[in-house]
């Protein structure tokens, strides 16, 4: 198997846009190619993530559409749908294509447009990633899924709403340092705790926003990467799945797919959680960050809430988590999120993150979760 590296990254401003998802992806991809110092003609394959295009844009076949808008219509293109983990799933497959020697230059990315529909419509479309017969039918929403996890975590480990609020405050503090973030505004613990319940015990400020945006990365073979000074190596990339249905999960306070994907990625890289300097993880809800920090082995099971409260995951803490602002403050354009997390970690490992730079970061991790915790991808990155 050949090594693969990221040599170019691009991401749009996250927030509301009056452009299609294909246009948003094309902007991010253009920036990623410029960053990689490669022309569009160098791209041999496009691996693309998009989730609710069929609903919000009445658009299927969004992969070739994105390639056409970018100006590379003849490049073999595959669209991935793995709910919120779509473009991270795309990335893992791109790594396999490069590692297998089939291509030397693969473009990976994703985009989503949802702010052109109402909150109630977007809530319904996102719920399509839970089971239609068992879950959508009784009105379960995505905040609802994570509220069930939060209540179970609170019951089992004593995690508090205040500890969850610390995650939101921290990620907004980080997001304020990221010019691409949807929310570049700090918030207080009191504001989070006083916000309205969306799905008890989760409040508005425990939830990531709906977001339009696109992200892209250029993945290349070792031979090409060796000619670049700022190449960031892919040290591992693993996927894990778990039961689709909430009622089939044996312990609602855990996300076993995170534990399995992390174990596989650490094994590929020959690393452990103690080696990780910077983390972008899937904080679609504050409780999701707490459970992910445990599942990735950064903290003991049940102590993720304490880690958030103590500031261990903040810039300057033991292991900075979501320096970009995370899904919470940077925003969550679901098809683009996995790629956008890689953009941030690559930026950190290059030492180019400006005021949010983690000094001396050498190893970075990205973690993306899809659906009712049924899909998780974990990738590890390192600089020379």
């Amino acid at each position: 198997m050949r090594r693969a590296a990221v040599i170019g990254v691009g991401v749009t401003k996250f927030g509301k846009h009056d452009r299609t998802s294909a246009e948003l992806f094309a902007e991010a991809a253009r920036d990623a190619l410029a960053d990689a110092e490669l022309p569009p003609s160098a791209v041999q394959a496009l691996y693309y993530g998009n989730v609710v295009g069929g609903e919000t844009e009445k658009q299927l076949h969004t992969g070739p559409q994105a390639a056409s808008v970018l100006g590379i219509p003849t490049v073999p293109t595959t669209r991935f749908e793995a709910a919120c983990a779509s473009s991270h799933a795309a990335f893992r497959h791109a790594v396999m294509e490069v590692a297998a020697g089939l291509s030397d230059v693969v473009l990976v990315g994703g985009a989503e447009r949802v702010l052109n529909v109402s909150t109630a419509e977007a809530t319904e479309y996102f719920a399509y990633a839970s089971d239609a017969v068992w879950e959508q039918s009784v009105g379960l929403t995505f905040p609802g899924v994570f509220a069930l996890i939060a209540r179970a975590h609170m019951t089992k480990h004593g995690t508090t709403e205040e500890q969850m609020a610390h995650v939101a405050v921290k990620n907004h503090r980080h997001g304020a340092l990221n010019p691409k973030a949807q929310f570049q505004k700090e918030i207080t613990l009191e504001e989070v705790l006083a916000s309205a319940y969306v799905a008890d015990p989760l409040k508005l400020y425990d939830c990531c926003p709906f977001t339009d945006g696109g992200a892209a990365v250029v993945l290349v073979s070792e031979e090409i990467a060796r000619r670049r000074r700022r190449a960031i190596w892919v040290l591992g990339s693993a996927a894990a799945s778990d039961s689709m249905l909430m009622h089939d999960k044996r312990d609602l306070a855990r996300v076993p797919a995170t534990e399995r994907a992390a174990a596989a990625a650490y094994r590929q890289a020959g690393l452990g959680p103690e080696n990780v300097d910077v983390v972008e993880l899937h904080d679609c809800f504050t409780i999701a960050e707490i459970v992910a920090t445990e599942g990735l082995g950064l903290f003991e099971p049940g102590s993720g809430g304490i880690a958030a409260e103590k500031g261990w995951t903040s810039l300057g803490g033991k292991v900075p988590v979501n320096t970009s602002g995370g899904l919470k403050a940077k925003g969550h354009p679901i098809g683009a999120t996995g790629a956008a997390q890689i953009v941030e970690v690559v930026t950190q490992l290059r030492g180019e993150a400006g005021p949010r730079q983690v000094e001396g970061a050498r190893i970075g991790l990205t973690h993306t979760l899809g659906g009712n915790t049924a899909t998780v991808l974990v990738s590890l990155f390192g600089r020379d």
């Binding site: 109402s118 909150t119 109630a120 419509e121 809530t123 319904e124 719920a127 017969v133 068992w134 879950e135 959508q136 039918s137 009784v138 009105g139 379960l140 929403t141 905040p143 609802g144 509220a147 069930l148 996890i149 209540r151 179970a152 019951t155 309205a196 319940y197 969306v198 799905a199 008890d200 015990p201 989760l202 039961s243 249905l245 909430m246 009622h247 089939d248 999960k249 609602l252």
Partner: protein
């Protein structure tokens, strides 16, 4: 031998009449909510139908206040994962119970929620 033991349609037809049906693996004894082709514990296909009592306790719950478009008129409403007496869990809508009195561990009992031609899982007071 090749036809599914209990399809979703069968499950909800029986549920409409108030009967919950699980499946038990004849090889390893694992209990599951259908439909399942193979047992996820031992990967055998030796299911036997088993009647579930419908009695259980709340394992976790939430109160949905921002609802999907098609449930918007029903909000706020509670959804819970209920651990049934037999050991399997089932997700359902909580009905006829005050939202502010819900708690983990509270006993509840299955109740079919029938609207037009659709049956969904509900739980009411034990």
């Amino acid at each position: 031998m090749t036809e599914p033991l209990i399809t979703l349609k069968n499950f909800f037809e029986r549920a409409r009449d108030g009967a919950l049906t699980g499946v038990r693996c004849g090889k390893c004894g694992a209990l599951a909510i259908p439909p399942k082709e193979f047992c996820e514990s031992c990967h055998q296909r030796a299911w036997e139908p088993v009647a579930l009592s419908g009695q259980g306790t709340i394992a976790s719950y939430t109160i949905i206040r921002v609802a999907p478009a098609r449930h918007a008129a029903e909000a706020p409403y509670a959804v819970a994962v209920v651990k049934l007496k037999e050991g399997v869990s089932l997700l359902g809508r909580i009905v006829d119970m005050p939202l502010d009195k819900l708690q983990v561990g509270l006993p509840v009992k299955f109740r079919p929620l029938v609207s037009k031609d659709q049956t969904t899982v509900g739980f009411g007071p034990a």
